[in-house]
């Protein structure tokens, strides 16, 4: 990443330009992008823009995700699915050390082979914010995770400003969307796209009265020197051109219109009140609401798996058959599992109430002590992918109510 050069004027990119962009990235990087698989928009390696989820739109609610065919849906009209940058920068399984027995006994060394550099297309503001949080975990605490550092250094990010918000989204509460740049200063993507074409019902395009007949076009803005070089190449190839002043205004209006939709939500619609939340949660560790949510929570770990910032992990030893070589493999762990807190044969957090409390207080309170920021970016994945639709914004609202004086909570 070079220094930000956000002053460069955005250029217009047509469908051919988007496809070429993916090809250019693929020359040097493994390109990850949104694509339809298993009934959801997931992030996977893509070979061309044709694999983007054009014609599909997601429907999300607490405990519910459905994908519908919708001819009006462009490549980035979907809202975030179950995958995030975490799946690639902090993979679910990764060898952290190799142990080998030689003539001089056991020796430990870093895993072999540099991982192929990644380029991710279609990243949203909430996930850029999540990336900045993961940087603090793996790079910012006085020691570095070497593999994360290598992936992070080579990472190319092509961001997208959101034109739609799912009912589960609440990035307006966490200050991390819907524009990619809402993720904060210094978190600039290499390139940021704004879709200027028509959109499905409920999108900013509708609010802005974009003609349904308009061809799918993008405003493309470089945020780094590396991004500017790619954009310059597209221009030289005749696939990126000057943006008409009206389209330039439109590119700024799109995320604003999405933000206005979020802001217009009424009371009871999803919103996370973060004011004083750290102190509040640590004051309410014995609130009866923990037992209430535990009666619904299945402790299935879905929320921690889809969360773009959850980083708990444990190491499993994988010995070779001859026992002369051992891979130490880090695997995602979840505070909802009993193993997470198992010590001397018993779990410290035996009850589901204690485990949900650990998750929520860590995410929204402990994180601030540990890393200086909340661990929540308002992406809403934990709400959508919870099989029983537990909504952390509703749980926080309930925890804000003082506990009944007569009842002592127990976890």
């Amino acid at each position: 990443m070079g220094p930000p050069t956000d002053t460069a004027a955005p250029l217009e990119l047509g469908p051919a330009g988007l496809d070429r962009l993916v090809c250019i990235l693929a020359e040097t990087h493994r390109v990850i992008g949104p694509t339809v698989a298993d009934g959801a928009v997931v992030l996977r390696e893509i070979a061309s823009a044709a694999e983007l989820p054009v014609g599909w739109i997601d429907e999300q609610e607490g405990g519910r995700y459905r994908l519908h065919a919708d001819a009006s849906a462009g490549p980035f009209d979907h809202v975030v699915g179950p995958f995030s940058l975490k799946n690639f920068l902090f993979p679910p399984r990764e060898t952290v050390a190799l142990l080998e027995r030689g003539a001089e006994g056991w020796r430990s060394r870093p895993p072999e082979g540099a991982p192929r550099a990644l380029a991710v297309v279609g990243v949203r503001g909430c996930d850029l914010a999540a990336l900045a949080i993961q940087d603090r975990v793996f790079l910012g605490s006085g020691h570095v995770d070497p593999a994360y550092q290598a992936r992070r250094r080579d990472l190319i990010l092509v961001a997208v400003d959101c034109r739609r918000a799912a009912p589960t989204c609440f990035c307006h509460s966490t200050g991390s969307g819907p524009a990619a740049c809402d993720a904060g200063a210094g978190r600039v993507a290499d390139l940021t796209l704004v879709d200027l074409g028509p959109g499905p019902a409920g999108s900013a395009a509708e609010d802005l009265g974009i003609e349904p007949s308009a061809a799918r076009r993008f405003a493309c803005r470089a945020g780094t020197l590396r991004g500017a070089a790619i954009l310059g190449r597209l221009r030289a190839e005749g696939l990126a051109g000057s943006l008409a002043p009206a389209d330039s205004e439109l590119s700024a209006a799109v995320p604003r219109a999405t933000a206005a939709r979020l802001a217009a939500r009424g009371p009871g619609e999803r919103h996370l009140d973060t004011e004083g939340l750290r102190d509040l949660l640590f004051d309410r560790l014995d609130h009866p609401r923990w037992d209430d949510v535990a009666a619904r929570c299945l402790a299935c770990t879905n929320c921690t798996l889809v969360c773009p910032t959850c980083f708990c992990a444990s190491v499993t030893e994988i010995p070779a058959l001859d026992a002369e070589r051992v891979e130490r493999e880090r695997r995602w762990e979840s505070c909802f599992s009993l193993d997470h807190s198992r010590m001397h044969g018993r779990a410290v957090r035996h009850s589901t109430a204690a485990r949900y409390r650990q998750w929520l207080t860590h995410k929204l309170a402990g994180w601030i002590d540990q890393f200086g920021v909340s661990g929540c970016t308002g992406c809403g994945r934990c709400i959508t992918w919870c099989p029983v639709g537990i909504d952390l914004t509703a749980e926080v609202a309930a925890l804000r109510a003082p506990p009944p004086a007569s009842e002592g909570g127990r976890a």
Binding site: L99, W106, V137, G142, S314, E333, V348, A354, G366, A411
Partner: protein, 290 residues
């Protein structure tokens, strides 16, 4: 690289670059310390690693048995002799059970040291009361050996060590040496056997009988409930929670604040602890299942 936040120990250079890098260490001596508890003296195999290795009392190493796993174990030897690292280990899980089957001359791997030390410097000029429950004394032995060497820097130095039964008292053979260094040592058991001539009861009783504690600091390690009781007894003799330090134990995988397993309220036990000033954790220790 960002410096560690206040209150956290900086990692040695090699760990800061790759926290997963372990080093071979030979078991040079094994001693039976108590039923199911053994002391292992380890010597790092690589001379450069061995010469560079330093630790402070209260810190711990991650001991790694290839193919079996890793366990966080306090360093129980004298920080002034860091070429020979003692770990006193109870066989209580897959890693420590496997360690119990190793012999002198065998090699294991270790990485460390990690964690916050006992605040010996801050207690200079005052009384130091070391209070241990069972295996907790293992995390304090490095501090006791340091206090013995620097005895003149302190007023009273007292070790109060309790165990369920006499056989569970660690390092009982060292009482004479500690006393010779000017340390008061009292041992207490919850249930005596025929050979026991000492006190019967709880270490908290001994704390309550200390006398004026206004110039004292307490270093406490034992089960969570024991540490709460000791802090309460210390308060009774004028030692406030800001003059009591406890060493916590939680499960741990990475030891550098990246695996999330050792969380205790807002803290990582591996980075913010294991040694905490009691007033920072007192309320958290009252809450079951945290």
């Amino acid at each position: 690289m960002t410096p560690p936040p206040a209150g956290r120990a900086a990692l040695p250079g090699s760990l800061a670059a790759d926290p997963w890098r372990s080093h071979a260490a030979r078991i040079v001596a094994i001693r039976d310390e108590a039923p199911g508890v053994r002391g292992y003296d380890l010597e790092l195999c690589d001379s450069a690693v061995r010469e560079a290795y330093r630790f402070r009392p209260g810190q711990f190493n991650m001991l790694l048995l290839p193919g079996i796993g890793e366990a966080a174990i306090s360093i129980a030897s004298d920080p002034d002799a860091p070429h020979r690292l003692t770990h006193t280990v109870r066989a209580v899980g897959n890693v420590t059970d496997a360690l119990a089957r190793r012999c002198e001359g065998d090699e294991i791997l270790l990485r460390g040291p990690f964690g916050t030390p006992w605040p010996l410097g801050a207690l200079e000029g005052g009384d130091v009361i070391v209070v241990a429950g069972g295996l907790g004394l293992a995390s304090q032995r490095a501090a006791i050996l340091t206090l013995a060497r620097q005895r003149n820097a302190y007023r009273r130095v007292v070790v109060l060590a309790g165990a369920k039964a006499p056989a569970g008292l660690l390092y009982a053979g060292e009482d004479a040496a500690w006393r010779a260094a000017g340390i008061e040592v009292e041992r207490v058991v919850e249930s005596a056997d025929a050979g026991w001539r000492g006190a019967v009861g709880l270490v908290t009783d001994l704390v309550a009988r200390l006398g004026d504690g206004r110039r004292a600091g307490v270093l406490c390690c034992g089960p969570d409930g024991m540490m709460r009781a000791v802090a309460a007894a210390a308060a009774g003799v004028g030692i406030g929670p800001e003059r009591v330090w406890v060493s916590m134990e939680r499960p741990m995988s990475c030891a550098v604040g990246q695996c999330g397993l050792c969380q205790f309220g807002p803290f990582f036990v591996c980075l913010d602890g294991p040694v905490f000033r009691y007033d920072r954790v007192a309320r958290l220790l009252e809450i079951p299942g945290l």
